[in-house]
């Protein structure tokens, strides 16, 4: 066996082993609570909001977030923070304040189910199938990233580490369902923070200050969010339209406001206020996440200047793993590796638990086997979990053909999430949107993204970077979906107002209970304003 970069000691393996024992223990402890398909797939709507909030954050804290964002920072500099301070935070506030009441009050079990209630069956089917495909494509990324890290750092066999990680995730999701996935995501969240924070602390101590770090960059554009956009120092090669329209609006809002993987965590909350507070609670630590992801990427490019050379062992994706190897003593190294393992497993489990719900409720129960007993759907949920993991292993080998994790993922989002956001925006806030308008709009938007991608591959459309192409593609897909949906809606029959109660802005629920009055200072809107003010300040600080 090829040896890795680091010689791990028994203490490092012991940390990993203990983590595995706890993760599996949580699943087995929750097993007796899994009595119905609702318990298994929806966590029975009884989880406190601080837990759903951290799970909301942790479910997408997979390989993409941890390794992908650090890789992006090493490649494009601090502009990577736009994913947080321009994209994620405003989108999470928008979800909490405006969209969550419709999701939670309409008592849906999944995002595609909202589309059925608001529009029609075909729109739900289109979204359910594309979402199922997307989640398993995403899930494989985590396994692949994990296997490559362990191969390079510790010399482990890739197939063996894929098999072990897949089996552990299978064991704890099949025993404890969504609750187990959510509980483990919270546990994994704290592990990731404790495991990776020393990289940033040591990096800052080593250089002394942020300005000392900035002085070491070859490209001055690496130290600024906005200042160098119009100059030749712009490392990302993205213009304002791509950045604000593509990343800040379409891709971020599309992901955070419509992706069932994250919405599912909020829907598991015990009441509407808990569901609305879920993204808000997640957004506060999210603002600071660049300290864990972007800063290590920036430190890596200074300490390991060869990073990003055309060599698998030195790809940008390896920024954090290499820093762990260089900076951590044994013991802490085991913790760092466990943190990475936790991030891969939470990312994968998040995808798999979203997949099994959409498969069981939106595809199997709706089109394949209607009117079966709940025990049957519980069994199907478990089977879908196992099958989802097996397909993830397959897509993991597919990922190996792609060079960059982040580009692969944003590409998938442009196909599915970008047009879907236009459908949701119109569905929730424009009463005239008709069922067939939504269906053809969504289909047209997705096809527009595919055509745009083909034209880019054939070099008929040129962009400075893959990322710039993705941002522009998302704007195109969103706009095509929006225009098509509105046009066809005016040509076809809309739903009667009676059928839209509780689903559309301005159409109130019939006889709906008046919500208990809470103080303005405890409302999601108030916290949303604080979050936006903090985000604006950070944009100013690192301008």
């Amino acid at each position: 066996m090829k040896t890795g970069l680091v010689t791990a000691q028994p203490i490092d393996y012991a940390v990993i082993l203990i983590y595995f024992i706890f993760v599996l223990g949580v699943g087995f402890k929750l097993k007796k609570n899994m009595k119905s398909s609702d318990d298994f797939l929806l966590a029975g709507h009884r989880i406190p909001s601080w837990v759903t909030g951290l799970a909301f954050l942790s479910a997408n804290l997979g390989a993409i977030e941890v390794m992908g964002m650090a890789a992006n920072a090493a490649q494009y500099g601090i502009m990577t923070c736009h994913f947080y301070w321009l994209g994620a935070i405003p989108a999470m506030v928008f979800l909490a304040v405006f969209m969550m009441p419709f999701y939670y009050k309409s008592k849906i079990r999944s995002v595609p189910e909202y589309l059925r209630k608001r529009f029609n069956e075909p729109t739900r089917a289109l979204n359910a199938i594309s979402f199922a495909v997307m989640t398993v494509l995403m899930s494989g990324i985590n396994l692949y990233a994990m296997a490559i890290v362990f191969k390079l750092l510790l010399g482990w066999d890739m197939n063996a580490s894929i098999a072990v990680a897949a089996m552990v995730v299978l064991a704890y999701t099949i025993t404890g369902g969504l609750t187990s996935s959510i509980y483990n995501e919270v546990l994994q969240f704290f592990l990731i923070v404790f495991g990776l924070l020393p990289v940033s602390i040591l990096g800052l101590l080593r250089f002394g200050s942020w300005s000392a770090i900035c002085e070491r960059f070859d490209n001055p554009g690496f130290a600024h969010l906005w200042k160098e956009i119009g100059t030749i120092h712009n490392p990302m090669g993205v213009d304002m339209i791509g950045l604000i329209g593509g990343l800040g609006f379409v891709l971020s809002f599309g992901y955070w406001c419509t992706d069932f993987l994250v919405i599912q965590r909020a829907l598991a909350a015990e009441d509407l206020r808990g569901a609305r507070m879920t993204p808000i609670i997640a957004a506060f630590p999210k603002i600071l996440f660049p300290v864990l992801t972007v800063l290590p990427g920036l430190i890596a490019i200074i300490l390991i200047p060869k990073l990003g050379s055309n060599n698998d062992d030195l790809s940008f994706n390896m920024a954090i793993p290499y820093l762990l190897a260089v900076m951590y003593p044994n013991g802490l190294f085991g913790l760092g590796i466990t943190a990475l393992l936790a991030s891969f497993m939470s990312g994968m489990a998040g995808n798999v638990t979203a997949f099994n719900t959409v498969w069981t409720y939106d595809i199997y129960q709706s089109y394949i086997a209607k009117n079966k007993s709940d025990a049957h759907y519980l069994w199907m949920g478990k089977l879908a979990t196992a099958i989802g993991i097996i397909i993830s292993v397959g897509t993991c080998y597919l990922c190996m053909n792609f060079k960059s994790i982040m580009d692969y993922m944003q590409l998938i989002f442009t196909f599915f999430n970008a047009p879907l956001f236009a459908t949701f925006l119109l569905g929730m806030f424009f009463r005239r949107t008709s069922p067939w308008g939504a269906f053809y709009g969504l289909l047209g938007g997705t096809l527009a993204a595919v055509v745009h991608y083909i034209l880019t591959l054939q070099h008929k459309l040129h962009y400075m970077s893959e990322m710039a192409g993705n941002f522009h593609r998302s704007v195109v897909a969103w706009t095509v979906c929006l225009v098509l949906t509105i046009t066809i809606s005016y040509l076809t029959k809309p739903k009667a107002v009676e059928e839209l109660r509780g689903l559309v802005w301005g159409v109130d629920e019939k006889g709906g209970a008046v919500a208990a009055k809470t103080s303005v200072f405890a409302s999601p809107g108030f916290f949303g304003v604080i979050l936006l003010a903090l985000t604006a300040y950070l944009n100013y600080l690192f301008f």
Binding site: I18, F22, F194, P329
Partner: protein, 89 residues
Amino acid sequence: MLDVRLPIGWLFLVLGVMLAAYGYANPPAESLLLGQVSLPLNLDVPWGILMALFGLAMVSLAQMDKLKVLEAQLQESKTASPASSSDAN
């Protein structure tokens, strides 16, 4: 249902103690380079202690909530029992 703070707390307590003990028993041969100076900092020890403290806090919070629930139940049964005993009379 299981309080999520318990597994988190115990995991961090166990890992923290392990890390601190290992670091204490095996001090690193090389000093840690910080800026222009290198310090003989044994990172496993302070970080292990910090993790153990975090774990302890999590377990304590979960236990305190458990006690509160037990107290409330006791209070309820106390207020309910005189009423039921007077009914019986």
